[in-house]
């Protein structure tokens, strides 16, 4: 657990005069479930995009899966998975075809695609649906499928950007079971969420306010520190001080 999946030091992103991400420093251990919290517009997405190799930081340093975000974006991309808040499978493709497509662009062989596909469909209990168009599945199933597809190439780290938005509590619970399974198999989870009950599921969480990380600890320690009963109160105590308005 000592190996660091993500190391971030004074990472900053400016858009003109606007400092979207302001000198953030943190690190995430391998196999950890790291909750990345913050109000809308606090800079979570920008920070995540830099870590995923989608945009260059203005200054600071960061390494993801041991690769530098400035110089080794391609290597980073090979070692991470990503699931966005928007549902991101192809609705006009079947379950099987989506698996083949996403596995395929990560360079899995046909043999691997077949095995992984079978395994995944069995795990999600989707045997009867594997030939259905993804667009016809209920939202909860889609999200679970999207997550499984995002880790089909066994990445070192998976970034989840509000993965459970609009999903019912039961499905959310099942979704988190999948996350725990993935973490057990050694995949580091980096997750943003607006649900404070989900924050409690994380090993550690950070809370971003106005581009800075104002708090970073285990949920239990944070509650103690802010003498709060729930994460809701912790979040509210911190986010109340925000000067930026949500976008």
């Amino acid at each position: 657990m000592n190996e660091k999946a993500i190391i971030c030091k004074d990472l900053t992103k400016r858009f003109g005069d606007f400092v979207a991400v302001d000198n953030i420093s943190f690190d995430v251990s391998s196999g950890e479930i790291f909750g990345f919290l913050g109000a809308n517009g606090a800079g979570k997405t920008t920070a995540m995009r830099m870590l995923c190799g989608l945009s260059y930081p203005t200054s600071g340093e960061a390494a993801v899966a041991g690769f530098n975000v400035f110089t080794q974006q391609e290597s980073i991309k090979k070692n991470i998975g990503y699931m966005s808040q928007k549902f991101s499978l192809y609705e006009s493709l079947t379950v099987r075809e989506n698996i083949r497509f996403y596995g395929g662009i990560y360079g899995l062989t046909n043999q691997e695609l077949k095995e992984k596909g079978d395994e995944l469909i069995a795990k999600l209990n989707m045997g009867n649906e594997s030939k259905k168009m993804v667009g016809d599945l209920p939202l909860g199933w889609k999200q679970k499928l999207a997550f499984s597809v995002a880790i089909i190439h066994q990445p070192k780290i998976v970034f989840l950007d509000e993965p459970t938005g609009g999903v019912d509590p039961v499905t959310r619970r099942q979704f988190w079971d999948l996350i725990y399974d993935a973490a057990d198999s050694g995949i580091t989870i980096f997750v943003t969420t607006h649900y404070m009950d989900e924050a409690e599921y994380c090993n550690r969480i950070s809370i971003m306010v106005d581009g800075r990380i104002d708090a970073l600890d285990t949920p239990a320690n944070l509650k103690k520190k802010y003498s709060a009963e729930t994460m809701d109160e912790v979040f509210y105590a911190l986010a109340r001080g925000a000067k930026r308005t949500a976008d």
Partner: protein
């Protein structure tokens, strides 16, 4: 390479499962060809006319029979020409004066009045020309002996299209139009759809190179557009009797070049448009009108004012239209179209460079 093929296959799934795309892809060319081939034509057939025969003699009867026999006119009954014109029931009227035959045979000059509805000047001119030709024809047939000394006799020869078949002109135009619309619309819409659905983000986070995303998008549409080109070609050869006099290989190469230039245009649109609807509007409406106006297959470019002529130079389809006509109808080789090909290639390179650049800057 394998990743690339995975992507291309996915793209084909999209096309064949989307009824709207299929309709644009295969419905549009067939519809355009049928429309231009059978419905829209500048020739006039069965124009309604009234004949008022105040002479009622052999000569007027003969002439009326000749008019009746022509496919251009259909004679309607009636004798109030003014009312018929006002109601728009007729296009044209022919009036024989009393004693027409007598004047013709004995007085050396006979007159026929032709009245046309010139609110549509082109039609009026065409109809009166047809009538004049019929009358001249008749005159010659009854006076075969008369030869006028010092006569200039023009000998006409219509090159490349002796039958003056209208489809010769528009088929190359339709090919240009259809390819332009299909390539730009489908590429732009398919890329914008990935953006809208959030799948583009996933693709960009994957190790799949962004330039490959663009290329993998382009390849299926290039193939499908060539398929479209073949369909149009088959339809026009077998349905509309179009000749293909030049090299088929050259025709295909030129079309490929044109398709690539349209694909890059579609790519450019996709980087500006935010939603599928906007992309569709921009490429369908924004491209359709300039293509129809400035390609030259409906409105002759020579007649346009200079600024418009200059603008027309910027429209790729204009050059492609010239090339198709030269190769298909005139049977010319590369030597005759190298200049146009070069212009088209230049445009393609510029468009492609700009669009890949904007695509990349948009990402960062």
């Amino acid at each position: 390479m394998k990743q690339f093929m995975v992507f291309v296959r996915k793209e084909f799934y999209h096309v064949f499962r989307d009824r709207r795309t299929l309709l644009i892809l295969f419905g549009l060319p067939v519809m355009q060809i049928l429309l231009f081939g059978y419905a829209l034509t500048t020739e006039i057939k069965n124009a309604k006319i009234i004949v008022i025969d105040n002479a009622k003699d052999v000569n007027s009867e003969q002439l009326i029979a000749k008019i009746r026999a022509s496919t251009y006119f259909s004679i309607v009954e009636g004798d109030d020409m003014g009312a018929a014109f006002r109601k728009g029931e007729i296009r044209c009227a022919v009036v024989f004066p009393p004693g027409f035959g007598n004047d013709l045979l004995h007085g050396n000059t006979a007159q026929i009045q032709i009245v046309a509805d010139a609110s549509d000047p082109n039609t009026a001119k065409t109809l009166t020309n047809y009538l004049t030709a019929i009358i001249n024809d008749y005159q010659q047939s009854i006076q075969p002996m008369v030869t006028i000394p010092y006569q200039i006799q023009p000998v006409l020869r219509m090159l490349y299209n002796p039958a003056l078949n209208g489809s010769m002109n528009f088929v190359p135009g339709v090919i240009a139009l259809v390819l332009m619309i299909i390539c730009t619309t489908l590429t732009s819409v398919s890329i914008v759809r990935e953006k809208e659905n959030g799948t583009m983000e996933i693709l960009l986070v994957s190790p799949f190179n962004p330039t490959y995303v663009v290329l993998a998008k382009a390849v299926p549409y290039l193939v499908l557009s060539l398929l479209d080109f073949i369909i149009i070609l088959l339809l026009s050869v077998f349905l509309l009797d179009m000749p293909v006099r030049g090299s088929l290989v050259l025709l295909f190469m030129e079309s490929t070049l044109f398709i690539i230039s349209c694909l890059s245009l579609g790519l450019l649109i996709s980087s500006v448009a935010r939603s599928q609807q906007i992309a569709m509007l921009m490429s369908m409406m924004g491209m359709m009108l300039p293509t129809i106006l400035f390609t030259g297959f409906i409105f002759p470019l020579e007649n346009m004012p200079l600024p418009l002529q200059l603008i027309s130079n910027l429209i790729p389809s204009r050059w492609f239209y010239f090339i198709v006509k030269a190769v298909m109808l005139k049977g010319l080789g590369f030597g005759a179209v190298w200049k146009q090909t070069l212009i088209l290639a230049g445009m393609t390179i510029v468009l492609l460079t700009i669009s890949i650049k904007t695509f990349k800057t948009r990402l960062s």
